[in-house]
């Protein structure tokens, strides 16, 4: 076997039907073309899983993939991604997580693991360097993520790293994620349900190896340069370390784009009560950083004897203003139960918000609640209790565990679901921020902010300020942000580094580790390739470009109060510009020319 740099050179293939485990050599051509993580995982999915496959059938595969920088000394180099076909959206799914599991998995000697088939009985995968075994998981089946992690620590010792589903994933909730290191999540797009559908409870890892570096001296230089930028940047050096992502609550609200009461409003007059400032003052116990992270945005909070990681900004928004709730303690509890049951906090909270609107409008009746707290705006008890009921997939909670789109559709009003491609949108009202709306509409995994974080230029003025109400140039910016993000995901670094680092910095780190010679522009171009491959997968899956849209409310009903009053999202202006910027036809299909340019002609 050749000597690999950055990569371990081995991909595990585990078939749960046949109970077989194979160690295959990494396809280095694919690795160079798609880097790793999200890129490599999508390539494997495209090669091996028919896009028309039912996401919860045995034919779907679940791929855990690291990037070449995962497990290295690079700042935030600990990410892993879960790639599969999503049961929530029907699109390609790629959920990205931090913590420590990804680096540990890499230390065990693997770049990725492909899970195939379905076990008859609940099992878990135990990986300890060369040892890889499929084992009986009946003793942890039904347990929460925290209980499961504790149980494996009993068996294998405290140093073990655990990625597990909670009861929600076991019961195939389409908004369930995969938890690792207790409080970190590959949360979005229902990847937990795919794991549950295979009767795979957890992947337990211990690794003692390391990652080979091509040029240690060059890495030292690139590392110092990146670290200096991260430390000197106001956001990564001060803002995020001091307040975590929750500091956004006030910023977004002051701009009048904090979705409130299921996007019926966009300004929450009690925002300060649920802000990052209040979190730091009243509830934060300590910081909770990920592997080799100089930023340390993670929070660890406590309320009424409940403690754990989080909550993040998106979670505070979802259970907070989007449900009209100003009780930060209740939000911390709802976040805790999401982590324990293994629910995506964005989709879970946005689904409760949708249920509250269904209740407000009389679609959900009081008797449907079966004695659970009333789904009325601002009811703090309701967000906690309904999170539990969704996690237990019980009663009306079972219907809600399918996500807001299917919930609202069951009452004949799918338009009340604030989602794109059936995945709930996060915490920024696109009526007052044109670019983020275009990003939501075109994201390859449905409603999502971390495919192309246009909040950075439109609200935070990073790397430069753009007029948030204007449509000019938003298509080009969105495309670049989407491509750049795909490359950052693929190498295995955290997106937050991009507040401080530029494309050349990533290319320098990647080159010094892998021995490649990419320029910053070429680094971003790989993201373009990944983006187009994802798009092709979705098109083959039958996702029509007409689904590149936003809920009617955001296109037709102007914001009624606050600083963004009167605005709607002008997607009809920006979408055609975006298709053009992407080199796609006016119907949103990648052209042959474009695919040839990207070396993707085989997939058209």
């Amino acid at each position: 076997m050749q000597n690999y740099f950055g990569y371990q050179g081995t991909v595990l293939r585990v078939n749960l039907t046949e109970k077989t485990i194979k160690k295959e050599e990494l396809n280095l051509d694919d690795a160079l073309k798609f880097i790793g993580g999200r890129g490599l995982g999508t390539k494997i999915l495209m090669d091996e899983v028919d896009p028309k496959t039912d996401a919860l059938s045995t034919e779907n595969k679940l791929i855990f993939a690291t990037g070449p920088l995962t497990g290295t000394s690079t700042p935030t180099g600990g990410r892993y991604m879960v790639i599969t076909k999503s049961p929530l959206t029907g699109t390609v799914a790629c959920s990205n997580s931090g913590g420590y599991w990804g680096a540990e998995f890499k230390f065990a000697g693997y770049d990725a693991v492909i899970i195939e088939g379905k076990s008859e009985e609940p099992v878990y995968l135990n990986i300890a360097d060369d040892i890889v075994e499929i084992k009986d998981a009946s003793f942890v089946w039904g347990k929460t993520a925290g209980e499961t992690t504790a149980a494996f620590e009993e068996v294998y010792g405290k140093k073990v790293r655990v990625a597990t589903i909670g009861p929600a994933g076991e019961r195939l909730s389409k908004i369930s994620g995969i938890m690792n290191d207790r409080g970190r999540a590959a949360g979005r797009s229902g990847v937990g349900a795919v794991m549950g559908s295979k009767n795979l409870k957890a992947i337990v890892v211990r690794g003692t190896g390391k990652v080979n570096v091509n040029d240690a001296l060059k890495l030292k230089e690139a590392f110092s340069k990146s670290m200096a930028k991260i430390r000197e940047n106001g956001v990564t050096g001060q803002g995020l370390p001091t307040y975590g992502s929750a500091v956004l609550v006030n910023i977004i609200n002051e701009n009048g784009v904090l979705p409130t009461n299921n996007f019926q409003e966009s300004y929450f007059d009690k925002a300060d009560e649920i802000s990052g400032e209040t979190l730091a003052e009243k509830f934060m116990k300590k910081k909770d950083p990920c592997y080799r992270c100089p930023i340390g945005c993670g929070r660890y909070c406590e309320v009424d004897g409940i403690e754990g990681s989080g909550p993040e900004y998106e979670t505070i928004w979802g259970f907070g203003s989007d449900c009209g709730v100003s009780d930060l303690g209740a939000i911390i509890k709802a976040n805790y139960w999401c982590n324990e049951y293994g629910l995506d906090t964005i989709s879970a909270s946005a689904t409760i918000a949708a249920a509250m609107e269904l209740y407000q409008k009389g679609y959900i009746k009081k008797e449907d609640l079966e004695g659970a707290p009333e789904l009325i705006w601002g009811n703090a008890e309701a967000v906690v209790e309904w999170t539990k009921l969704m996690g237990q997939v019980k009663g009306l909670g079972a219907k809600m565990a399918e996500g807001s789109y299917r919930l609202c559709e069951s009452y004949g009003v799918p338009e009340l679901s604030m989602s794109v491609k059936k995945q709930e949108m996060p915490a920024y009202d696109p009526r007052g921020i044109q670019g983020i709306g275009l990003n939501y509409a075109t994201s390859n995994r449905g409603g999502c902010h971390v495919r192309g974080y246009m909040i950075s230029p439109e609200i935070l003025s990073l790397p430069q300020g753009l007029d948030r109400f204007a449509t000019d140039e938003k298509a080009e910016w969105t495309k670049i942000f989407q491509d750049f993000t795909a490359s950052i995901d693929a190498v295995g670094l955290c997106l937050f580094t991009s507040f401080a680092m530029g494309a050349d910095d990533y290319a320098d780190l990647y080159n010094s580790i892998c021995g490649t010679k990419l320029t910053g522009n070429e680094f971003i171009e790989i993201g373009d390739r990944i983006w187009n491959l994802e798009r092709l997968y979705n098109l083959k899956a039958g996702i029509d470009p007409s689904e590149d849209t936003l809920p009617k409310r955001l296109l037709e009903e102007p914001i009624s109060a606050g600083p963004s009053t009167g605005h709607v999202n002008k997607l009809s202006v920006t979408l055609p510009q975006y298709y053009k910027a992407r080199g796609w036809t006016e119907k949103g299909i990648p052209t042959e020319e474009k695919l040839t340019l990207l070396g993707l002609e085989a997939f058209k």
């Binding site: 106001g234 803002g239 995020l240 956004l248 006030n250 910023i251 002051e254 400032e277 909040i455």
Partner: protein, 74 residues
């Protein structure tokens, strides 16, 4: 004229959250920050009535400013 200044994150330290300020006509945002002993380089996001603004702008009576140090996330 009266201007409301809303401060956030670390800018609140020693200053408070919401300040009601009495300013002379023609006072620029820059001058208001100077009075509050906030250095311009400490300001990353500056909003007037919720809309992005600039240091040289002269606010009108009843306007409110929202001022943030470099912060972000998501």
């Amino acid at each position: 004229m009266n201007i409301t200044v809303k401060l956030f994150a670390t800018l609140r330290e020693g200053r408070g959250k919401i300040l009601e300020m009495e300013c002379k006509e023609g006072t620029r945002i820059r001058d208001i920050l100077h009075d509050l002993k906030i250095e311009e380089k400490e300001v990353a996001i500056l909003l007037k009535n919720g809309i992005s603004s600039k240091m040289d702008v002269v606010p009108s009576c009843g306007d409110y400013l929202s001022i943030f140090p470099p912060v972000g996330g998501g």
